[in-house]
């Protein structure tokens, strides 16, 4: 036991100073004594790896250069959005698609939606030749493939299917969007939207018929107020 005669306290430690008044402690402590609390080791120091720093720097510079050139030689087309979108998509895929610990269905859903946004961006930045390929074909077909992919994963990894149901429901709800657009004649080609919606309804009915309890539980959980 050591003691601090200023604070009049005793303390068991190998440190030399009183934690209260920082005066030198007197007395001896047992050799075998182990401090109750561990020593400080820096754990949370955030230092980005050089590669990541370099990539981020490059990204920023490229975006600035592209934007500036587009603005200086502006001919009515926002072409710089295409490479900028591609760079953003690269970071997005790295962060959410690959490095994220989110469950696979969520990642797939997010990646699909981001992909659709990116493709629509490409389509519409070419304002002269725009013919709606992204909205007519890619949007419904990508949603359809995402639907199928999540269903396949659920089918194969049967264990945790309840975690995926929510994402499946979200994608199914999203599949209604192209159908509405097709019905209001915004889209010129209707069959991909109808096919996509058909697949979504098929999957939904399948779950409702064969897993009614899981879907009820999941909806109750996610939407309790």
């Amino acid at each position: 036991m050591k003691r601090c005669d200023k604070c009049n306290i005793v303390i068991e430690t190998k440190q030399q100073y009183c934690p209260l008044c920082h005066q030198v402690l007197t007395g001896e402590t047992d050799e075998d004594f182990k401090e109750v609390y561990p020593e400080y080791v820096s754990l949370r120091r955030m230092v980005l790896p050089t590669t990541k720093k370099a990539l981020m720097f490059l990204t920023l510079i490229s975006i600035l250069i592209l934007g500036t050139i587009n603005w200086l030689y502006f001919d009515g087309r926002y072409w710089s959005l295409i490479p900028i979108g591609a760079i953003a998509y690269f970071w997005f895929m790295l962060r959410i698609g690959i490095l994220s610990k989110r469950n696979i269905a969520g990642r797939l859903g997010l990646a699909t939606i981001f992909m659709i946004v990116f493709l629509i961006l490409i389509d519409y930045s070419e304002y002269n030749v725009h013919n709606g390929w992204s909205t007519n074909y890619l949007m419904p077909l990508l949603l359809m493939s995402c639907n199928l992919a999540i269903s396949m994963i659920m089918w194969i990894k049967r264990l945790n299917y309840r975690d995926y149901i929510f994402y499946l429901l979200v994608i199914i709800i999203f599949s209604i969007v192209p159908l509405i657009l097709a019905a209001t004649k915004v889209l010129t080609v209707a069959w991909p939207s109808i096919a996509s919606f058909g697949v979504a309804i098929f999957i939904l009915l399948f779950i409702v018929f064969f897993f009614p309890k899981s879907i009820r539980e999941e909806i109750k959980k996610r939407f309790h107020a």
Binding site: N8, I9, L20, H22, E39, Y40, R222, H224
Partner: protein, 432 residues
């Protein structure tokens, strides 16, 4: 899914709803209870004990998930892992680490510690969990111990009352008046870097202390709260009362375990608070007058009506239709802004008295010491938690600032009275 319960997910309780939104690296809203055994802890056996006991506590075998309107606690099928203790005290619980569990179990030397996020439970719940864990550990070590109806063992079944949100049960819509509060005085100091937390415990004799507080006709919590106010006053305010920041009232926030006031078996948050409140703009405030004041303020704050009013005020906020049906991604900002405006700066410091920890007699031989600690953040720089185990009264200060003069004056008060004080510290100041 367990056969003995109907669902495997839980709504967050009333107080649990706010914490996920307002917690970050700095305001972590975690707290710790730790037990020191008489011998070195064997990590492998502790791991087995932890896995075994989690089956008994489905309430803690959960992860936090987002719903459309509210967050909720969902059954967590992944395994729970214990970890060696780091220097961090009550650091933020990162849901991405540790398989999304909202609490951690640490071991080091003779010590077993549980750190828990406040959304899950309060001090009462975590003490129960720790007792069960230690029981299970000692049982696996092969010692002859018995639970004596004090400890919930893994052989019993959980009962439905353990999951209930008791705040809602005692909610009274007619008694929910909102009483506006003034901002409190905030302790000044130099923040420790990297969100580190300093910890200083003082160990006193429970018996001596009881004699002392009873001679004044007070309870322990009242005595300590008054002393805390006085210490803040002498170290931070006295002779500087002209300063604008010192015009704010000093408020010591004292959580009240409502399980002792209302019958409930719940493991979830079921606590409320009383506060001391005094603008200390005189140069001659004495400790004796603070004793009187705190005694009076606590008696007023602890009446059943007042406790139900404070409880109902919170529940009414949650039941507000506007907030309730606001989608979560908007609601989180509403909660954050509301808490920043109302909740954060209303307390000078918090003083948690967990009370007497009781283990079955057969276990007492294996347990040396129990400690509790709460986080210290940006506004509540110095917090204090107290518990007693046998004749060891342990007062633990956690701080997010470098200065230790509040702790020093607090303990010197007792040494000046001739009491023996033993100090423990994590010596954070030696390493930065």
């Amino acid at each position: 899914m367990d056969s003995n319960k109907l669902t495997d997910w839980f709504r967050l309780d009333n107080s649990g709803k706010i914490f996920p939104e307002v917690s970050n690296q700095r305001e972590t809203n975690t707290f710790r209870v730790q037990v020191a055994l008489t011998e070195e802890v064997d990590p492998e056996i502790l791991q087995m004990a932890a896995m075994g006991i989690l089956e008994r506590y489905p309430m803690f075998k959960v992860r936090l998930k987002h719903g459309f309107f509210w967050n909720y606690l969902d059954h967590n099928a992944k395994p729970f892992h214990i970890s060696p203790m780091t220097h961090e005290v009550c650091s933020a619980i990162n849901p991405r680490e540790n398989n999304c569990y909202l609490f951690k179990v640490f071991y080091r030397g003779k010590t077993i510690a549980i750190e828990m996020f406040h959304s899950l439970s309060d001090g009462g719940g975590v003490v129960m969990l720790l007792q069960s864990l230690v029981y299970e550990y000692l049982k696996l070590k092969g010692y002859p111990i018995s639970p004596d109806n004090i400890i919930k063992t893994k052989l019993e079944r959980p009962v439905q009352e353990e999951y209930e949100d008791a705040n809602e049960k005692y909610y009274n819509a007619k008694n929910r008046k909102h009483v506006p509060e003034k901002r409190a005085y905030l302790i000044k100091g130099t923040y420790l870097p990297d969100n580190n937390t300093g910890l200083i415990s003082g160990i006193l004799s429970t018996k001596e202390m009881l004699d002392l507080v009873r001679s004044k006709g007070l309870t322990m919590t009242e005595y300590f709260s008054a002393l805390m106010m006085y210490t803040i006053y002498t170290t931070q305010i006295r002779y500087r009362t002209h300063l604008l920041s010192n015009q704010a009232p000093v408020k010591v926030f004292v959580p009240v375990n409502l399980r002792k006031h209302f019958p409930s078996e719940t493991l979830r948050n079921f606590s409320n608070f009383v506060k001391t409140n005094l603008v200390m703009t005189r140069d001659d405030i004495t400790l004796e007058e603070l004793f009187e004041l705190v005694h009076e303020q606590f008696q007023q704050g602890m009446t059943k009506e007042e406790l139900i009013r404070k409880m109902s005020e919170n529940v009414a906020f949650e039941k507000n239709v506007m907030l309730r049906f606001m989608p979560y991604f908007i609601k989180r900002y509403a909660l954050k802004i509301g808490y920043n405006m109302l909740g954060m700066k209303l307390n000078t410091t918090s003083m948690t008295n967990i009370g007497k920890i009781v283990f079955p007699e057969s276990m007492d031989n294996y347990i040396e010491d129990v400690t509790a600690a709460v986080y210290a953040g940006k506004y509540n720089c110095v917090n204090c938690s107290i518990l007693s185990y046998k004749d060891r009264l342990k007062i633990t200060f956690t701080r997010s600032i470098l200065e230790t003069n509040i702790e020093r004056e607090f303990f010197r008060h007792f040494t000046n009275l001739g009491m023996k004080v033993e100090i423990e510290s994590n010596f954070v100041e030696e390493f930065i």
